[in-house]
Symmetry: C2
Subunit: 502 residues, 2 copies
């Protein structure tokens, strides 16, 4: 009885934390989508106020007392309740380990660094950003000492985004993946097949793209009664509970692919959040479990579904109806064009095959940097060397090289691997899905995307954050994280497109 009552008290407390997060989320969304220019400063102050309120709630003595209380009753709790307590404890301890004043200074350093990064990127001058990045890396190294680590300093940072993942494990799977992709890429480069994609670069009005994007999102199962799509500089997904899950995209009038595939990608994230069951509200577990699992959903929809031939077998005729540019293009040529392989400098524009190499480069650099094997000043050189080695391309300036992503400027070290992990998890899920539903490709060809949605909901979405990523992938597929299925998938797909021996 006492435990039941205490559980209800705790849920009410966590509910308030969730509500505060929602408030911050709505305000953040508004900042990115609609806020008038002159409001920037006042808005930053508001965000600062709300996050300090959130900090207070997460680190209060009340939380400590909840944790201490439940320590003695863990055996009486359900799986969800245990996960709820563990999650609360983890957050409390993580936050408490770092001295409050140091964390505050870090936040200030980040906000200054973001502005410096923007300026540096605009001018293509790494030197503008360097002193700021050095500070941030110093902070990260300092925080790692507070947090403590067993094998590798970088494990601490990985853990922030993908609970339990380690350098040891990533070295194995990413090593295997890198070698396989480089090998396949070399074969593709030698292929006599040349793919034409100029018809994707004709003019497509924003309005037409928007309409088509909405059509595809509805077909995928994105619920517009519980979400909306808007335009922002960089595409993102954000949710305030499971009934208001919004996505954004960015339209380019001379590029058919960019907005469409980013919408499908964000739609994958959004469907995950829309599917979170109501029962998890107030447990702190009512959201996707990790960035890696989240990327598995978005990249599954974007690539495995959205860049498949079956998908376009059903939707290309619709595209042809709407876009006269495609009237004389065959399905086969369209399919090839959206899958053209072109080693390039910019991660966000990369094709499905080379994308993971962009991530692995960042992973290797972050790992070396955090462990003091290289320093910030070495970054441009190391970056360019790795791009040369893995992708065979070399940036002509830092804007299209080491300065291209904003992640480091706000201190998000350890985040990048999530994207490649998403690819691996996704292919593992596909393999299991094919066992459960052998005719899944037929279903796609018939436009029955609901079958996929249901499978993902039953196997992934409905669990929210109850199981940690490593547990979850084991529950779903019976196997641990592996690069095997993704490598098989890539080999098969690109051998077919580029007529390679396989």
């Amino acid at each position: 009885m006492k435990v039941k009552q205490k559980l209800q008290e705790l849920k009410n407390y966590i509910k308030n934390m969730e509500l505060l997060d929602q408030a911050t989320g709505i305000i953040y969304w508004d900042m990115r989508v609609g806020m008038p220019k002159k409001a920037v400063e006042q808005r930053s102050e508001l965000i600062g106020y709300l996050s300090s309120e959130g900090y207070k709630l997460a680190t209060s003595n009340k939380v400590k007392r909840f944790i201490d209380f439940f320590e003695c009753y863990m055996d009486q709790l359900t799986v969800v309740e245990k996960a709820m307590i563990n999650e609360l404890k983890k957050k409390y301890e993580d936050v408490k380990k770092i001295p409050e004043d140091r964390y505050k200074e870090f936040v200030i350093a980040c906000s200054k660094s973001e502005a410096a990064w923007e300026a540096a990127k605009e001018k293509g001058d790494f030197e503008i950003f360097r002193p700021h990045l050095e500070k941030i890396v110093d902070f990260q190294r300092e925080f790692i000492e507070y947090k403590g680590y067993i094998d590798n300093k970088y494990d601490c940072l990985l853990d922030d985004y993908e609970r339990g993942i380690t350098v040891k494990r990533l070295d194995e799977v990413f090593g295997e993946l890198r070698d396989a992709i480089v090998k396949l890429l070399n074969k593709v480069k030698g292929s006599k097949i040349k793919i034409e994609d100029s018809f994707l670069k004709e003019k497509f009005t924003k309005e037409d793209q928007e309409e088509f994007g909405k059509f595809i999102l509805e077909e995928m199962g994105y619920d517009f009664q519980a979400g909306r799509i808007d335009e922002s500089v960089h595409p993102f997904t954000i949710n305030f509970g499971n009934r208001d899950v919004r996505i954004t995209t960015h339209y380019y009038e001379y590029d058919f692919r960019s907005a469409l595939f980013s919408s499908i990608h964000e739609g994958g994230h959004a469907i995950y959040e829309q599917d979170i069951p109501d029962e998890l509200i107030g447990t702190g577990l009512a959201t996707g479990v990790s960035m890696g699992i989240h990327e598995s959903q978005s990249r599954f929809y974007e690539n495995i579904i959205g860049r498949s031939k079956g998908f376009w077998k059903v939707f290309f005729p619709e595209a042809q109806k709407r876009f006269p540019q495609f009237r004389d293009i065959s399905l086969e040529d369209f399919y090839k064009a959206i899958n053209i392989v072109e080693p390039s400098l910019i991660r966000t524009e990369a094709d499905e095959l080379t994308y993971s190499l962009h991530i692995i480069i960042r992973y290797e650099i972050e790992k070396a940097l955090i462990n003091g094997i290289i320093e910030v000043k070495d970054l441009p050189r190391v970056w360019n060397e790795k791009y040369k080695e893995y992708l065979g391309v070399e940036p002509s300036n830092d804007s299209e090289g080491v300065l291209q992503d904003m992640h480091w400027s706000d201190g998000s070290f350890g985040y990048f691997p999530s994207y490649a992990l998403g690819n691996l998890y996704g292919a593992q899920m596909l393999n299991k899905m094919l066992e459960d539903l052998p005719n899944i490709y037929e279903e796609i060809e018939n436009g029955n995307l609901g079958v996929i949605h249901r499978w993902l909901n039953n196997n992934v979405h409905k669990y929210g954050s109850v199981y940690k990523p490593a547990e979850l992938i084991k529950i779903i597929t019976g196997q641990e994280l592996t690069a095997k299925y993704f490598i098989e998938y890539l080999n098969k797909k690109y051998s077919d497109i580029y007529q390679l021996d396989y």
Copy 2:
């Protein structure tokens, strides 16, 4: 020294209250403008959470200690600091007087009542709304007993929206105004001038209306870098600080007037809030002082400026360029059409002359109801009788009668008089403005609306809430509230349009 330090502490505290208000405001705006349907329930919960946090801040012991401390140092404070303390104290005491549980029950009753009102309005059936409204009136009567009153119970409610205004004063000015308008209206009805306005009811696309509205707002001095305009069911203005002041409107494709004049109206509110000086931030005074003064600004722009001949002398050619419907219409005919007098049933559609009668009817009804002279069940009958008497029209059902406004459903008794007060204040300001700037009509004719904006800023906006409405109108005009100037203004304007003896 001690006082200075304490003042800073208090300002930091009030700043947090302001930030919480901003957060609530942004979330409310989003609810009205963009929120997906299914989010309603979760969003209401979020709003509830934030308002209870706001309640806690406003009634904390900390606030009590601040008030007690400054009680002894009032003579050392500046005008602004004194106003800050008085405002804080007033809010604290007002809120504290009502038992917390009763207030909570009132809020719940209101939210239920709003839904009942909507249903009742849709079906034109007052009986659906009656039991809810009876509860709300009972609550109001109960709260008045907690608050206490000197002359008239209704004074308590007036005070919530227009500090210091009383039934005694309103009976005088509204009585005078009512008699003058009824007299003028009868003359207008007898005029041989018949005004044609069918060209305002042709088709005007939403996009064209939107563009033209934005053009006019910019000319008025509304700063789009510190605001934005969107569409919502009912037009409103909302601000989050002075750098993000948003307005909404509603477009009707077969009505040129509705969206345009509501945009100008809301623009008047918005310019007031955009002009609030930064120095007032963190004092609790960084906003318009009362609903009456706020309406004086919005109605000044909407009617005194926006429905003047000078204004259209400069902007009608622009309208003609954009709208072929006006190609063969003369300025004179356009001016008459936007000022046509038609006694009607719906307040929000009323012309400038009859508008105040709609308000006076509501004032007389609220006053009688709160004092127990009539009861809720009498409302439809009394409503219809008064419309017959003052305006010569009679509702055929309650939807176009007593159910038309939502104010009573959420407990906003005492709010309506603000609209008519705004008309009176506005005409008093116009009179003073003409003394200061005798060539103001020429300026308007030349499109120099900046002159008006500057005068309003210097005389009204820059004070924020430092002076209470009665003080403020005295400071600006040297006179107390009076109906005299508005009556003069109406007589002059409509005698001219309808060729009456004057």
